[in-house]
């Protein structure tokens, strides 16, 4: 599977668990607002609730910038509910947890480990047209950071609005001074 940037999410329909209830989610639901698909290997594991709880901690901030969150694992929506019933961390999750037991979404985004029936830790930021604007895929044990994800969504939104008219920066204090690049064409 090649680069996914710019690729539009394809049709799908899955069952989901959200705030104590089941619901159906399809491609249409991801359109019209920014979305994050947050794949993780399986319910009832230890790193996952930490990550998902971290995501919940930032959920209001994501919503405030018009971004909806969807966690995805290869479990059914029934297992999501059972996990929420059993775990205080999962119980407080307000965003939608998608069940993808057939691997439709995980396969579409290239994160399904077929022999395990589990998804790698993939995070996909989709714009309101459902196109992938940024993504990262971690191996099973490598956790993610919701604050960093929020920053990436904000950056993606900024670029969508302003094009490439800004220079992103990762500041390294004390970086070497650059040799002057004098170009007065158009300035005088």
């Amino acid at each position: 599977m090649g680069n996914l940037i710019g690729r539009a999410v394809e049709d799908f329909r899955v069952q989901a668990y959200c705030r104590g209830a089941f619901k159906e989610v399809d491609r249409e639901e991801l359109l019209g607002h920014w979305s994050v698909l947050f794949f993780y290997p399986a319910d009832f594991t230890f790193v996952c609730p930490t990550e998902l709880g971290d995501l919940q901690d930032f959920y209001e901030e994501f919503q405030a910038i018009g971004c909806e969150l969807y966690s995805v694992s290869e479990d059914t929506h029934f297992v999501h509910k059972a996990w929420a019933d059993a775990s205080d961390t999962i119980k407080r999750i307000q965003y939608t947890m998608l069940g993808d037991p057939a691997g439709v979404l995980a396969r579409q985004f290239g994160v399904l480990v077929e022999e395990d029936g589990q998804a790698l830790r993939g995070t996909f930021i989709l714009n309101p047209e459902g196109r992938v604007k940024a993504y990262e895929i971690h191996d099973m044990g490598i956790g993610r950071n919701a604050a960093e994800l929020l920053r990436k969504v904000q950056a993606a939104q900024f670029v969508e609005e302003h094009g490439d008219q800004v220079c992103p920066a990762k500041w390294k204090p004390g970086e070497e001074t650059l040799t002057p690049s004098l170009d007065l064409v158009g300035l005088l």
Binding site: H162, Q165, C167, A169, K172, T177, L178, P180, S181, L187
Partner: protein, 221 residues
């Protein structure tokens, strides 16, 4: 005041070709501009800036240089919390134009054009823009945060500083964000150019001079 003769004018930032081009621009200067800088010569960036300024001052008889140790607490008019800090002065008065950090990379353009706009014929500016700047009624302090590799940044620095030159109410400084983590942290700087007005409102991306004047008119005090 620091004895400038003790500072090397052999700045590694300015090669012969660059100096020649700048000399061509400075040949058009018709007023005397004084560059005053607060430099802590124990610090590498300040040393670098002092040497850069000496080399620049040597390129025109219309430019003179005064260097100050921050401990002297000289009345420079500009903000000197972020060193090295360099201001441009005309007729003994601070013009509201400052540079914080070393204007290397793309920012050499804003430094050279800043002096050209101040002490030379200056870039063309529409009467409507001058009139609009004249209508500014409230004092405004502008920080333009840049990175030296940013090609969008010098245009914004030049425009903000042009406004500062024409309005006694406005001051505008270039800040190399790489050097000042306190600014990066305080204003959550992730992209440049970032125009910060009165330490309150921040605007990212390139803007025309007219747009910047409007932002200043709308700014919170």
């Amino acid at each position: 005041m620091i004895d400038c003769s003790k500072i090397s004018a052999d700045s590694p930032l300015l090669d012969a070709k660059t100096k020649e081009t700048i000399q061509g621009v400075f040949a058009k200067l018709d007023r005397d501009v004084v560059i005053k800088a607060a430099v802590d010569l124990k610090e590498e960036k300040s040393l670098e800036m002092a040497s850069f300024l000496r080399a620049m001052a040597d390129l025109s008889s219309h430019i003179s240089l005064e260097l100050y140790d921050p401990l002297e607490q000289a009345e420079l008019g500009m903000e000197t919390d972020h060193l090295p800090a360099t201001g441009l002065y005309l007729d003994g008065a601070y013009t509201g134009v400052s540079f914080h950090g070393v204007p290397g990379g793309k920012e050499i353009n804003s430094f050279v054009i800043g002096i050209y706009n101040l002490a030379g014929p200056g870039q063309e500016l529409s009467k409507a823009a001058v009139k609009k700047i004249g209508r500014l009624k409230r004092p405004a302090s502008v920080k333009v945060c840049v990175s030296l590799a940013c090609h969008h940044c010098p245009g914004v620095v030049i425009a903000c500083q042009r406004i500062a030159m024409l309005s006694p109410l406005v001051e505008a400084g270039m800040y190399d964000a790489n050097l000042y983590p306190d600014l990066v942290e305080r204003f959550k700087i992730e992209r440049v150019p970032l125009v910060i007005i009165n330490d309150k409102d921040a605007f990212a991306g390139p803007r025309s001079l007219e747009d910047l004047v409007q932002l200043l008119m709308d700014a919170r005090g």
